[in-house]
Subunit: 393 residues, 2 copies
């Protein structure tokens, strides 16, 4: 088993009415003036934003509102948030929403005390040394940002999508009330389910074969997510299934499923270019690419794909070859994606054929003009990226 660090300090309050604890939690972690950061109208419509505002007011905690975070959150909004924090003397960031809002908060956190432009942190040109504390009330289970160390931001100038990961990005607290997820449309639910499964895949499909505890937990999570996903697709108001999915989403990305493994993350990197270029949902983009990535790279550890087929997808183990098993597992996974309405190729994702020029442009961006590689299971160069995008056409 490879050495690892595991650090998931976020205090999770999970279940009905937990949003009522928000003011106490802000105080516990030293917040006296809050930036209340959110997306569009859903947080207002659901009544959650009003409830949070009332809680903060009752507790005598000052706050400033900044809404308008969009999916694939923009660096322009981050810069607006940083300025607001400086002007208003804000000392605590509270995200109300999904991964985009939390990621935007994280970016603001890193840029608040940084002397240069926040985007330079995401370009890894610099490293921030001081961060603002963040708490969140999660309303969309998907990105796992509520317990992760990462943030992904899109720069509209050139539609670049980049991540920045530091332990200081781990939320101080995460409030999760599954009731607020019952109104999520089927498409968004399915994108979320795909994203959390992919967070597990990126750690599970590894060159390492000696982290049985981690693997068995990953397999348990994957099986459970699939069962519960079908339940919420049938009955969107099934609280218990919504709760399973919500909690699974956090565990899929708080590093629990990566202890002792070499992460891959190639599918995520390839997808960032897709959603950067076409502004599609991250989860759907991942589903469109994963099968092609899997078929391209499985030779690096065919046994692991075979194990996945049997232990996760329930492929009966008979006298198949390892490669046959691996292929059966990939096909079963694609069938699951389709069963929840996800695309399994780029055409179905963007509604038209992608052009070779677009593929070349994405591969260029993803490889920084051919200068960098991605992937832990298999190191992918620019040409490999082009090949996978073409396989996924």
């Amino acid at each position: 088993m490879k050495n690892f660090k595991y650090y998931a300090p976020t205090k999770v309050m999970f279940g009905k009415d937990t949003e009522n604890k928000v003011a106490d939690l802000v105080k516990e972690f030293g917040g006296t003036k809050v930036l209340l950061h959110y997306g569009g109208q859903s947080a207002e419509k659901s009544g959650l934003l009003g409830k949070v505002e009332a809680s903060l007011q009752d507790a005598g905690i000052a706050y400033v509102k900044l809404g308008g975070v969009v999916p694939n959150p923009r660096v322009s909004k981050v810069r607006e948030g940083i300025e607001l924090c400086k002007q208003e003397g804000i000392d605590f960031l509270l995200a109300v929403g999904g991964g985009s809002v939390i990621d935007s908060c994280k970016a603001i956190s890193s840029g608040r005390y940084f002397e240069g432009d926040v985007w330079d942190l995401y370009l890894k040109k610099a490293h921030a040394t001081q961060y603002m504390p963040i708490g969140c009330i999660l309303t969309i289970p998907a990105a796992g940002s509520e317990m992760s160390d990462g943030s992904v931001i899109t720069n509209e100038e050139g539609w670049l999508k980049k991540d920045y990961c530091v332990d200081e990005f781990r939320c101080k607290f995460a409030i999760m009330n599954p009731e607020y997820t019952c109104t999520l449309p089927a498409w968004q639910t399915a994108c979320g389910v795909t994203d959390m499964m992919m967070h597990t895949f990126e750690r599970y499909f590894s060159v390492d074969d000696d982290m049985e505890v981690t693997d068995s937990i990953a397999e348990a999570l994957l099986r459970t997510i699939m069962v519960e996903a079908h339940k919420v697709m049938k009955n969107p108001n099934d609280y218990d299934s919504r709760a399973q999915i919500m909690w699974a989403g956090s565990l899929a990305h708080n590093d629990l499923t990566g202890c002792g493994t070499t992460g891959d993350w190639a599918t995520h990197n390839l997808e960032h270019e897709l959603s950067g270029m076409f502004d599609v949902s991250h989860g759907a983009g991942l589903a469109a690419l994963w099968g092609s990535w899997a078929r391209y790279t499985r030779g690096e550890n065919m046994n692991r794909f075979a194990r996945f087929a049997v232990n996760v997808m329930g492929v009966p183990l008979m006298s198949q070859t390892t490669e046959e098993l691996a292929e059966a597992g990939i096909q079963a996974m694609e069938a699951f994606f389709q069963s929840i309405g996800m695309p399994t190729n780029i055409h179905d994702l963007i509604g038209r054929d992608i052009t070779d020029a677009e593929i070349e442009e994405m591969a260029d961006k993803c490889s920084n003009g051919g200068t960098s590689t991605i992937g832990g299971l298999m190191e992918l160069k620019r040409d490999d990226m082009v090949n996978i995008y073409k396989m996924a056409k």
Copy 2:
């Protein structure tokens, strides 16, 4: 799914040579003068203690040594540690050892600033409001104290064994190098394996049936622990299997396997009286009692015991009744305990028949003279405790 809080803030550094990070970690969490707390000679013999001392010296961190912690750690040693911390102006507690040493550190942490006697905290007569930070280097995977909020201390006056649980008891960091566990004797390894399985059982055998994520993770952990336990019994120097067991021990008790469930903890409570009276190993005591507890209480949720039989113990599901399945699972579990050398009744544990008078005395202590009950799956009164002890004779 029941509401829950999940808070596991301990920074884990896992793997070979991680003990070299100790000085940096003490500094990171603000330690300037350390109480180096440990047990007997094994920490010295293994060279670990010397390594830690050298690291602290090199980093210019002052420290005072206090060894001599015994299994079922005593309140007298705790009081000695508290006095030492006061005299020496110590601001950080570093445990080098297993659960007993960590629990002793936790007790010192709670008593350092408390005006009364530390034992009153364990009797729940008072609550401490200020605690010292704790870090640990784990050498025995078993108790899970390295990530838990609990501490169990034995008072030699009357041989009472009591626990005290607060979030402030969560270690700031936990260093885990499986290499130091390779020299553990088979008996101690088996006791540790039993303890970590029981930490999962106490949360898994619940009245609740709607926390699929948690259950599936618990089942995965249990299956993995059993497989890896047999591997280390055969080959004590199998680093990878030692690593699986070590990490499983932490996950079994950091509350991950209890998210959304009603804990039981009756077997632990019943066992504390056994090891309090006979000074036996906690893990062995648990193995001696569990089957009897399971048969006594399973009627409260027979389905769960049947599920355990199939999903964890691999009992083939044919046309058995639920009760037959439950019994088969319990028998398979007892067979596993025996396969790693654990007793499954009190006679095998203490080497003689237990007397009725001893049983009555244990039930008296466990029920506080008949005034309190234990158990989440089934509420056990004094008479129930006597019945279970007698079944386990």
